[in-house]
């Protein structure tokens, strides 16, 4: 289990990362829309986004649409790599024969 990135390997953050990674590359989503897709409270989501942002996996950009402030959330390039690595380690753990073949 030591192989798994602790920033991603936590239920809520894994859900956030999996959602952002499932969207087309370079696509960003507004905070409320992400909240709706994840069915998380705003407070809970911002807590986890902050941790992911601190790790450099997620980027939050603030902008304005008319007079309303809008926050877009997207995966960074290192974030996508970290997620891909996480997925690879996960699959290797579930299928040890594949791990032997690859290592």
């Amino acid at each position: 289990m030591s192989d798994l990135d602790p920033v991603i390997h936590a239920q809520s953050r894994l859900r956030v990362m999996a959602t952002l990674a499932a969207m087309p590359a370079d696509e960003e989503i507004t905070f409320p829309r992400l909240q709706q897709v994840l069915e998380m409270t705003a407070g809970n989501l911002s807590t986890h986004l902050r941790k992911l942002e601190d790790a450099g996996y997620v980027e939050q950009s603030k902008t304005h649409r008319g007079r309303t402030p809008v926050t877009y959330v997207g995966l960074t390039r290192p974030g996508r790599h970290a997620y891909d690595d996480y997925l690879t380690s996960l699959r290797a753990m579930l299928d040890p024969t594949r791990q032997e073949q690859t290592s």
């Binding site: 936590a10 959602t19 087309p24 709706q36």
Partner: protein, 215 residues
């Protein structure tokens, strides 16, 4: 919020549970953010199948040759408007709050449809003012011009999104449109209903099968 409880929950994650979470989120994104081809193709398939059948069955001989009745065209128009409303409503609800390359492509394609159909209506208005409208090619042109545009835009959209079903559907609509031009009124309406509307419905069925394989 109790941070310790969250940590305990997170520590309990085993690889199989993690993979299950990932699969669930992928499905959630597919069902809430991605445009569903089954809905779009299904809506247009029903509109074309029923609408063109109505045009075909209401076609009567007139002084200017065979032509569908006014109420036939009205039903056809309402069905197309309904399919358009379903398309716009569905695409808007799925893509709201997204920003990036895909969204920009989608917005440009949306403008593309608008410009293309504004042109179609202008060209049709010019045709209707000419003698061509009174001849047998009037009804053929009034149908083939918009259908050709639909086929070509589907080819372009399929290429832009790298979606095979949509691309093949575009090519198929072009083939059906070409064939319908030779059939002429009123057989043309039957061709568009069965091969055109049927093609859309087959496209929706293919999307359903592909979806089943992906999950």
């Amino acid at each position: 919020m109790d941070p310790h409880r969250t940590t305990t929950e997170d520590d309990a994650l085993d690889p199989a549970a993690s993979l299950a979470i990932i699969d669930a989120q992928r499905a959630r994104v597919r069902d809430s953010v991605e445009v569903d081809g089954r809905i779009i193709f299904g809506a247009w398939g029903v509109a074309w199948l029923v609408g063109y059948l109505v045009l075909h069955t209401t076609t009567r001989d007139t002084a200017a040759g065979p032509s569908p009745s006014g109420w036939g065209f009205a039903v056809f128009g309402v069905l197309l408007a309904a399919a358009l409303a379903v398309t716009i409503g569905h695409v808007t609800s799925r893509t709201t709050g997204l920003r990036g390359e895909s969204s920009r492509i989608g917005a440009m394609l949306g403008i593309g449809w608008f410009v293309a159909f504004a042109t179609v209506f202008a060209v049709m208005a010019a045709i209707m003012r000419s003698d061509v409208a009174d001849g047998p090619m009037g009804g053929v042109l009034a149908n083939t011009i918009p259908c050709l545009v639909v086929g070509v835009l589907y080819l372009g959209q399929g290429a832009a999104w790298q979606e095979r079903t949509q691309f093949v559907l575009g090519a198929w609509i072009c083939v059906v449109t070409a064939a319908s031009a030779f059939v002429g009124v009123p057989g043309l309406y039957l061709v568009m209903a069965l091969a055109g509307g049927g093609g859309f419905l087959l496209g929706a069925a293919v999307e359903q099968v592909l979806r089943g394989r992906r999950s």
